[in-house]
């Protein structure tokens, strides 16, 4: 008969129960941090550098969260990076060209993200184009559109009061001067917590897992699979919109040519974090850890002044090893 549910510690409950073992990527992260601390204690483990690492994880972190949803449905979204840029551009159009007030502009940008996400979702469900192709097409389309809208010139937010504070200001730092954590990092964590709740405690999250596990069974359970897929892609698109705002605020401009290639970093973070590309399994916490593994690695190698080509070689090796050791531990437990 049923055993008492002993495994429901608060941690696994927080991350959806499913994934108690996913959190083991954490050990790789700690290992990396230890190595760099030992090798370069004075430069790596400084407050400034830690805040730098946090800051550098924000954009990819938020993109990776968006990708996590898509990947759990066993889909893939190649357009996240370019969509981020498109949302940044639209924020510029709303706030700079049209002069809309900032809250409206921000909302508008996120809404554009959701809109493009649902367009991908519709292509996948209604046109029955596989996600890879639908989002590849969307990627090209949005990239071109961003360039057309801006006439390939950046849009500067210099005149939008307080826009750069979104990512760079520090609400926490204003209260506790010893802890000048930038708002961007705060936003990343808020997005992570909210998305974790959405993924584990709401219908949307439940269907995200179910679609990735057996789409046909979900359909035959009377669920409107198409509608939910569109909703999930739209939701992920909205999250990409947030990362668009983050990058725009950080650069105080919308750079229309940026963003391509970020999708691979995002997907890598997701997979390093234990989410399976074949769907049905994944956690937001894992993704965040995956994103930090990537950024700590890159930061550490740069701090050690490793030549760029060697950085590539080492990053490649370490990514493989991180996932491998994660497997090892998972099999042991």
């Amino acid at each position: 008969m049923t055993l008492p549910t002993t495994s429901t510690s608060w941690l696994s409950r927080l991350s959806g129960g499913q994934a108690k073992q996913k959190l083991l990527a954490f050990a790789s992260l700690i290992a990396l941090i230890l190595v760099f601390t030992v090798l370069k204690p004075d430069a790596f483990m400084t407050q400034d550098n830690i805040i730098g690492i946090l800051q550098s994880t924000t954009v990819i972190g938020v993109l990776a969260i968006a990708s996590t949803f898509i990947i759990i449905t066993s889909g893939i979204d190649l357009s996240v990076g370019v969509l981020m840029t498109f949302c940044a551009v639209m924020a510029g159009v709303f706030m700079v060209s049209w002069g809309l007030p900032m809250p409206l502009g921000l909302l508008g940008a996120v809404a554009m993200g959701a809109l493009c996400g649902s367009a991908s979702g519709l292509a996948i469900t209604k046109l029955k184009v596989p996600p890879f192709i639908a989002t590849l097409g969307m990627m090209m389309l949005l990239k071109g559109t961003s360039l057309i809208i801006t006439s390939t010139r950046p849009i500067y937010f210099s005149d939008v009061e307080g826009f750069d504070q979104i990512a760079l200001g520090s609400v926490i730092g204003d209260l506790i001067p010893a802890l000048p954590i930038p708002n961007g990092v705060l936003i990343l964590f808020v997005v992570a917590v909210v998305c974790s709740i959405v993924l584990n405690k709401t219908v949307l999250g439940r269907y995200t897992f179910a679609l990735g596990s057996n789409e046909e069974a979900v359909r035959l359970s009377g669920v409107n699979v198409d509608r939910w897929k569109v909703i999930i892609y739209a939701f992920a698109g909205g999250i990409c919109g947030i990362s668009g705002l983050l990058i725009a605020s950080r650069l105080n401009s919308a750079q229309p040519a940026l963003g391509q290639g970020y999708e691979l970093d995002a997907i890598a973070a997701v997979v390093i974090g234990g989410t399976s590309l074949s769907g049905g399994v994944g956690t937001i916490l894992g993704t965040i850890i995956g994103a930090f593994i990537m950024s700590v690695l890159i930061n550490g190698l740069r701090i050690m002044s490793v030549a760029q080509e060697w950085q590539m070689v080492l990053t490649g090796l370490i990514i493989i090893l991180a996932v491998y050791t994660d497997n090892l531990r998972r099999n042991k437990s």
Binding site: M1, T2, T5, R206, S213, E216, G222, N224
Partner: protein, 497 residues
């Protein structure tokens, strides 16, 4: 005579489950040894160890008296141990012939190219031996579960094993195929092959087995000759007395017609099918493999498009674009193929049980009401005696029969007015079967309309108030529950045009 296989004190654990605890088992040449036990008793696990799929934790395994360590499926094959797995393991995109000879492809042109003709020839020979009429070049994905099961059998036969394990080979088969299979089994017996036979169908055991070994909760109970009365065997399996669900056939003729299907057509698969089901009635669907019963059920459920026809629920014509419409109209459908259409295998038990009814377990229409979900799932787990270490166990790690129970549970929770059960007891043990029969009777008594599609005629006979028989996509006859006999149904089931 040394036994072909002798197993002693064998144990095996999975995380959270002690699947086998000091089990013993032996197999003689030329014998059919039936392995029996409730769902989750550990039968498949024991056989998978013998077939090299799992490694044993401890204990002794002897082949021909020699202690042997089987370290993989290939090794088992080399030791002439063949297995028909409980779950189908076929490559859907490959043809039947390619599936059967995977891993031992004959070559030509100096070993460079595959000899496709040779595998077709050999496959055809195997099919002939099984009296199976289908071209070896049919892709597996285009076959029904029953046909796929026959391919698995053909594949196992092609190995010319000395030990042949059959893990519920007939769960998806019809009487005719079962007869063919038994003919082959007898032939193999005479050639000295030892056969392990697992089935939940008691009549088969009596027909084919020489000895019976009973397991319960991962432990060995006893080994008896096959002549032991079945009631005793069942008592050993379940460890308690079973009460039989008695069919009471109430007069439902005055009751409201809940489901009314008119003039359903789709190509040659469904031809002018019309029928009604009343409140409180259990309607049986009998027919041979491929008769079109599943097709009709899927069409009524909106899972496949139809050419024409209409479906009314409570007199109201319903839109049938997708299963969603059907569920909204109060129809539920339990698929015959749980692996592909029933179970979200990667999700936990409670998520599966509440999947169709998720809307009911939400607070503010968005958040999952975890405690309600837990309560309702636990109720189902208890009611259907689903053997699982926890509600959060991944569904694919349950034993086959328990998976089936999970799929049944999800439609019980959804609480539809019209329930279509397609092969509901496939792979379910006797005890659970009679519980499910009782449950179906209760559901009907509560005023639901129930359709039961089953290839087991006794099941149809026991459950149905009325039986429809299909053949080649048409309804060839209707028999009332009292009047129906196996013979009368078979006659209708073979009424081709």
């Amino acid at each position: 005579m040394t036994p072909l296989v002798a197993i002693k004190n064998l144990s095996k654990s999975f995380p959270g489950v002690k699947a086998l605890d000091k089990v013993q088992f032996d197999l003689m040449p030329g014998e059919v040894h039936a392995l029996m036990g409730e769902n989750g008793a550990g039968k498949s696990t024991l056989m998978k160890i013998l077939a090299g799929v799992y490694r044993k934790d401890s204990g002794e395994l002897c082949l021909d008296g020699q202690p042997t360590e089987i370290d993989g499926p290939a090794h088992a094959q080399a030791l002439a141990i063949g297995i028909i797995h409980q779950e189908l393991h076929l490559m859907a995109h490959l043809t039947a012939a390619q599936n059967i000879f995977l891993g031992r492809e004959p070559r030509k042109c100096g070993g460079l190219l595959l000899d496709e003709d040779a595998i077709h020839r050999d496959t055809q020979a195997l099919f002939d031996r099984l009296n199976l009429s289908m071209p070896p070049s049919t892709p597996i994905g285009e076959l029904t579960v029953a046909r796929q099961q026959m391919v698995e059998i053909a594949k196992a036969l092609s190995h010319k094993s000395r030990v042949l394990i059959m893990d519920e080979p007939t769960a998806a088969l019809n009487n005719a195929e079962i007869d063919e299979l038994f003919r082959i089994i007898r032939q193999l017996k005479s050639e000295g092959v030892g056969i392990v036979y697992i089935s939940h169908k008691m009549d088969e055991i009596q027909r084919i087995a020489d000895r019976i070994t009973v397991m319960r909760d991962g432990t060995y109970v006893a080994t008896r000759p096959a002549s032991t009365p079945m009631a005793d065997v069942i008592a050993m399996m379940v460890g308690r007395k079973l009460e039989h669900a008695h069919k009471s056939i109430p007069d439902t003729s005055s009751n409201e017609v809940l489901l009314d299907v008119r003039g359903l057509n789709r190509g040659r698969a469904i031809r002018d099918v019309s029928f009604t089901v009343r409140r409180g009635e259990i309607l049986g669907f009998a027919g041979l493999m491929g008769a079109g019963r599943t097709e009709v059920a899927r069409a009524v459920f909106g899972a496949d498009r139809i050419d024409n026809g209409e479906v009314r629920v409570r007199g109201q014509v319903i839109r049938l674009e997708s299963p969603q419409d059907a569920v909204q109209a109060g129809i539920g459908y339990l698929s015959e193929d749980r692996k592909h259409f029933g179970l979200a295998t990667g999700m936990d038990v409670e998520s599966n049980i509440t999947l169709p009814s998720l809307k009911r377990w939400l607070t503010w229409g968005v958040f999952l009401n975890r405690s309600a979900i837990r309560v309702v799932s636990q109720t189902m787990v208890d009611k259907l005696r689903i053997k699982t270490p926890s509600l959060l166990q991944t569904a694919k790690l349950l034993s086959g029969g328990n998976q089936q129970k999970v799929v049944i549970a999800k439609w019980l929770v959804q609480d539809c007015e019209v329930l279509i059960f397609d092969e509901p007891t496939r792979g379910i043990d006797v005890g659970a079967k009679s519980e499910i029969y009782k449950l179906l009777n209760d559901l009907a008594a509560q005023g639901r309309a129930i359709i039961v599609i089953s290839s087991e005629l006794p099941e149809v006979l026991q459950l149905s108030h009325r039986v429809l028989v299909m053949c080649e996509g048409r309804i060839t006859g209707e028999v009332s529950g009292e009047a129906a006999t196996q013979e009368s149904l078979m006659a209708l089931a073979t009424q081709r045009d």
